[in-house]
Subunit: 296 residues, 4 copies
Amino acid sequence: MKRIINLIYSMKIGFIGLGIMGSAMASNLLKSGHKLFVYNRTKEKAEELLKQGAVWKDSPATLAREIDVLFTMLEDPIAVESLALGTDGFLNEMKKGSIWVDSSTVNPSFSKKMSEKAIAKSIRFLDAPVSGSKVPAEKGELLFLVGGDKIVMEEVQPLFDLMGQNAVHIGDHGKGSAMKIMINQLLGQSMLAFSESLSLGMAMGLEKKMAMDFLLKTPVTAPILEVFRARIEDENYEPNFPLKHLQKDLHLFTDTAFELNKAVPLTNAAKEIYAQAKQKGMADMDFSSIFKFINE
Amino acid sequence: MKRIINLIYSMKIGFIGLGIMGSAMASNLLKSGHKLFVYNRTKEKAEELLKQGAVWKDSPATLAREIDVLFTMLEDPIAVESLALGTDGFLNEMKKGSIWVDSSTVNPSFSKKMSEKAIAKSIRFLDAPVSGSKVPAEKGELLFLVGGDKIVMEEVQPLFDLMGQNAVHIGDHGKGSAMKIMINQLLGQSMLAFSESLSLGMAMGLEKKMAMDFLLKTPVTAPILEVFRARIEDENYEPNFPLKHLQKDLHLFTDTAFELNKAVPLTNAAKEIYAQAKQKGMADMDFSSIFKFINE
Amino acid sequence: MKRIINLIYSMKIGFIGLGIMGSAMASNLLKSGHKLFVYNRTKEKAEELLKQGAVWKDSPATLAREIDVLFTMLEDPIAVESLALGTDGFLNEMKKGSIWVDSSTVNPSFSKKMSEKAIAKSIRFLDAPVSGSKVPAEKGELLFLVGGDKIVMEEVQPLFDLMGQNAVHIGDHGKGSAMKIMINQLLGQSMLAFSESLSLGMAMGLEKKMAMDFLLKTPVTAPILEVFRARIEDENYEPNFPLKHLQKDLHLFTDTAFELNKAVPLTNAAKEIYAQAKQKGMADMDFSSIFKFINE
Amino acid sequence: MKRIINLIYSMKIGFIGLGIMGSAMASNLLKSGHKLFVYNRTKEKAEELLKQGAVWKDSPATLAREIDVLFTMLEDPIAVESLALGTDGFLNEMKKGSIWVDSSTVNPSFSKKMSEKAIAKSIRFLDAPVSGSKVPAEKGELLFLVGGDKIVMEEVQPLFDLMGQNAVHIGDHGKGSAMKIMINQLLGQSMLAFSESLSLGMAMGLEKKMAMDFLLKTPVTAPILEVFRARIEDENYEPNFPLKHLQKDLHLFTDTAFELNKAVPLTNAAKEIYAQAKQKGMADMDFSSIFKFINE
């Protein structure tokens, strides 16, 4: 164990993708004394980290040459592919034997494809998307859902520990991504089903607060919804998890179902109701604003 | 309190509707020494209760003349209306001041209509549908969701206590029914969303038992689903809560939304997927068989 | 034939339900010299007909005592049931052997129920809903879809001829209503599918007018949509056929499917999208405004 | 005009993708005396054309070096991309100034991407998917929906004339593909809406043949459905247009809507009902078998 920790502390770490989630995660790595190289499409988002001691690199490729472990936390498969394989991409430049951990939420088939590209270059790959949003990311309380070789995961474990509460090995390449889209599908559906229930309850004459309190105590409601009680009560939809991102995750789920010749009619319906809300101007609100869309 | 209990013990109770739920509830009333008059469309279902001491009446009307409190536990609004107001119906024959508690799952608007019919005859009315299925009914652990006058509810409370763990006053007439259909909508949606998640998980290569265990532990899954783990794992769909009944409850929900000019697109989608399963021969299986419908 | 015409001209006709459609139909009966007795919930809507010579009756019951053939053209099953069987309802007062033609759009099961009520009173019944909206009604160019006894239909044929271009015998009681809801389901679906196609076409960069012209010429588009070209082009949604009525007809369709244990998932989805538009303030616009709902 | 015809007759043509549609189209080019080079992933499908005089090439790349105009008729964007840009792909090997006509059904955004790749190599590009299935392809009666430069289209017009009844210039790059997915969306929706209408009609007691005849005459039904009357009547679902291909086209439509931030809830519902039919074993039946899926 001590040996691994020493290994880790001598490792150089790269982080690409410094949005809300990525910068919080990178900051937690930095705080524990790791040497951290960072890159982001827009440099401004890196400023805070640079003040904390991170080292800026001008391209994914130049960053790649420096590091032993790379984390990516990007918006979607297109962004990952472009930064990995496009002009000045990192994959061609990483050292043999180094590790790429992709924490972006992507299709499992995309994770598998990336793992194959990595392996062809003798780079070790993990798909390790996270469950949790802004606040857990800041507190280092994320849950990593890991797909790939368990040995590689154990090597990265001390870094997962700095950013998260837990890291679970789900299975081989792509399985971390698989579990991630399953969880976000359940999240999106729970919120929407709850919104329809509450909204009709109000139309039937129930008082909003009483109805919410009652439903949130019953075992037919997902416990996570408790977190959103205040938002829905106050109709304050400052984004914690933007609606457009949840909608994109539902799209990844239905797209994967298409690839695998499975029908998922309820998820498709949910995806499209979120798409309607997105079209009606709610893309950047918190996804719990789906209540507002349903209710008004 | 003692006064009320004495009042109750001198009361004569009627029970109409002796299906799986109704006979278990009636049995719990009987066990505590109450005088119980019963009626059911098919007499065979009453045999067990008659052995336990219940008194058979040949029609709702003749039963109505004997009793102070009447419970009805029927399949749907049509059945309730027919036994209440049809030929030999009970409503015309109940004593002034007596109480009718309808525990059937019906639309709130129907409960309100029944309360008006009852009040016009100086009969006091509660809508008090129950949350819980066969086993809780047998153990006297149901949850009553009560709409109507709180004073009337308090009078009936000792009887609710015999049949249930709890009785909650939700609001005036129809509000008990309102909360009931909200809860069953959440139940139906949770099960279906979980089924799509698990089914795609398996198609993505996850092992069924591992995936179930993992999802059931996450806060995005409604805790009630734990109860159905064994059914889905073993694909044993002996009916506890038949799929056709859950589908009917979703229909009550969407029908009420139509009456109130509200759109509930996700619930409509869910209702119709259960309708497909019903059409494909699963009407009398447990509603958790929706997993089988989605997965195969 | 001549004999029947003479019979008809000696007949006294009643008309209940004088909305946009009903008053246009009644006017066509009146113009041909028939003696016409009318009733409507709000008397103002009858004024124009009274000037043309119609005779006002103060209740369905008093009207019923005068006439040999009664037409009803009401909003929904609840309205028909209330005027037929409620206080001062017409059914108890109609002469034995007289004919009731219900042209309202209702569920087939409701038409069957009404036919049974009528037959029990020795009154002959036809369900004869119409295909066509305001302008065809005024021009006497409606299509009657008739369910019931063919002999009875032949007797009424001269009156159908005054109001419509054609009357088709679809089958026994309820079959006219059956065909009506099938046709309106196709109408609603065509308009909505076309709206999604056109809207995405515009988002893909096609010019609206060109795309409409092209699609309307292809055989994958229902010819009736040509009628609505100008409305969608100019976004002028003055009601010809109000969206809430189309939505109600889709509800009759899905409700009938529920009664018959059939799943109709696409129609349910369509019904609920129109319900969303209704909720967002489009209830009284023409139903072609669903394009606006989808597109904005 | 004559000049162009001469030019065309001196042109060498390539054809890649010899499925049902592609081989019928290629055969029509061959019959008019053109020199035709062909390639297909499985050579057997080319045998008939080789007997008719076509010249086999062992790879897209070797074929590309020979020809002035290339037609591709492939299953989906992945197949097109792989044969164009993969190992031994054709795009790197085509002559400057030559023309690539992609008749595959693909997303408009993919067509635009291909046009950019082609233009970067000084190759001229048209997206020209076809409307029509097996029989029109054999008879040379297809409709080409063309996106790209009108001048280029005029140059290819004589070849379109050999394979089709008509070629319409819809707009610039991607617009042919746009119109194609709009038309197939309408086709899929019409068939499914009709199936639900007919199926419920039968459940309401209408005779199947009568109901079909009636509906097919009304203006609420898309005329193309007449073509499928016999299939549905006899429940003979030999594939003319396989259900899985229609389902894929609906997927291209909804995927494009996702790219453009548009919600298309009805099309998503339709797509997923076809996906259910696909999952239940109907992938290779004619798409009109959706009636069977709905009805049974």
